[in-house]
Amino acid sequence: MLKVNNLHASINDKEILKGINLEIKAGEIHAIMGPNGSGKSTLSAVIAGKEEYEVTEGNVMLDGEDLSDLSPEERAHKGIFLSFQYPVEIPGVTVTNFIKTAINETRKSKGLEELPAKEMLQLIREKSDLLEIDRKFLSRSLNEGFSGGEKKRNEIFQMAMLEPKLAILDETDSGLDIDALKVVAKGVNKLKSDKNSVLVITHYQRLLDYIVPDFVHVLYNGKIVKSGGKELALELEKKGYDWLK
């Protein structure tokens, strides 16, 4: 599904990613771990198409299509979803209105009519029930005054609504207590199928107790230095990152 080929990316002429190779097949969960500054968040931003980063070599392919020239919204329309480490607050736009706009823009890009209000409402109900989200939450301004847990749950709610092929969860566990973490992980697991894939980006092993990866990759200094199964995460937890340097 996703193929990252020899990806080099830099920001302000500073090279952050120095040749990443990664293949994620449909139905798989991959985790990328690594110390601070190793390039984890850069990798997720580059896959999602953030324009500040310059791809100097290599590319990212989704279902055989090179994404290089696509804008972030076009990538979203093709099925890439990035859950943010720090979701942005947008006062004055409710969660419901935001997701409506996102869904209808995605439909528009595919030449579809807007989703009728009734169906939209049903979909919102269904997904918010699935994630045990209080309806009142949906009429609040997007992320404004949300707790860390609410923000992350809202990200997963949007993911549920948009049904992406590939969901990238960037440090979804940061700022969450263990209960909130469990709720978020439960949501992700409910949405998982053999047709979609998840890329979990995390600093700590604990999230991977709940979202169990098929593959774990260690990112260090802009390169994947080691790949393995889920047991690699446990090993990292015990030994830290130093032994890989």
Binding site: A48, A76, F81, V88, P91, V93, N97, T106, Q158
Partner: protein, 440 residues
Amino acid sequence: MNLKEKLTSSFLAFENEGNLDLDSNTHAIRLEAIKSFEAHGFPSKTIEDWKYTNLKPLLKHDYCLFPRTKNDVGFKNIKKYLLNDVETYTLVFIDGVFSSFLSTTTHDDCDVCVLSSALNRPKYKMVVDNYFNKIANKNESVSQLNTAFTIEGAFINVPKNTIVPKPVQIIYFSTGSEKEVLLQPRNLVIVGENSHVQIIERHQNLSDETTLTNAVTEIFVNKRAVVDYYKIQNDTKNSSLIDSTYVSQKMQSVASVNTYSFGGKLTRNNLEFYHEGEGITSNLNGISILNSNQHVDNTTLVNHKFPNCESHELYKGIYSDRSSGVFNGKVIVNKEAQKTNAFQQNNNILIDDGATINAKPQLEIFADDVKCSHGCTIGQLDESALFYMQSRGIPKKEAKALLLYAFGNDVVEKIKIPQLKTKIAKFIAEKLNVELGFDL
């Protein structure tokens, strides 16, 4: 002959032709005003409060001071400028002349009618004696000019203990009957004790000809009265407006003036609040969304003279292309005005490199037991917020518009007339060139 000379030399003719009573009090007021204008002329950029707004280009036109009026303006020509889906009292003026045909006045619970009759009828003598030109700033020469030529405008007189059941719309149209026209409407609003009124004011050019409007509004808010005043400024590109609004408040009254500026060539808003008692609340809200070479100047003053009063000021601006904005907000807390709460905020977004904003918050605080704050920001659109929205499939253009819309939202939220809120929201969406798939 320049405009100042033309005006001063036309004054006599104005009083004679208007059949104005030369023995009346108003004559004396006019005479004093024209003398003051003659002495000072139009404000230039050397005056501190006019530093960022240059009237000079507007003064080059050969304005017609007494335009012919067109009789063929019908409801269909003006309908779209009115708030239609709610019942209102409506005062419509065409080229400065009241149109009874297009208006809905009342004298039932309150007076919603025209200033000319209030100034000339003996019944309203107390109005002139007690209110007319009592708070218009004598140091503001454009207001003096308006006073000198005062002949018509809205007169709203609400007796005590009255809730005016419908909002009042005041709309001044110019029709292009003359190539270049100067209009000087004058509004007087008196709200009695415990009473409540909502007022919407708008100036609209129906043609592509040039219009300069120099309007003055005096608002008197008596004890415990509540006034909500809305100014819609969405005129054509050949229309300029100098709007001076003066508000005097008695104890425990609440007055709100909301200014929505989207159109016009040059707009200058002078807005001044004077407190005459304790427990007063003054609210000043505004949003300017400008493009091309539009200019809007909001110069405000809140003068706290009594203890235990509050003022809340929130102005937002979004500037594109080569447009320019001014926020010049002065808050004075005199030393008697202990326990004052005065808040002022001004937030601006500059979209393009050619756009400018001059923001000048001025707080002069002489009392020691007060809560005062001011904040001023000038920024660009938040790139990380844009990326967030794009990553959810919202195209950049829509994402920008949505962010800007959200930025202005808290000012729109202040509107207490739902139909007006919808209309303003629509203006904003139009101005930002985006269709929103929902109501905010």
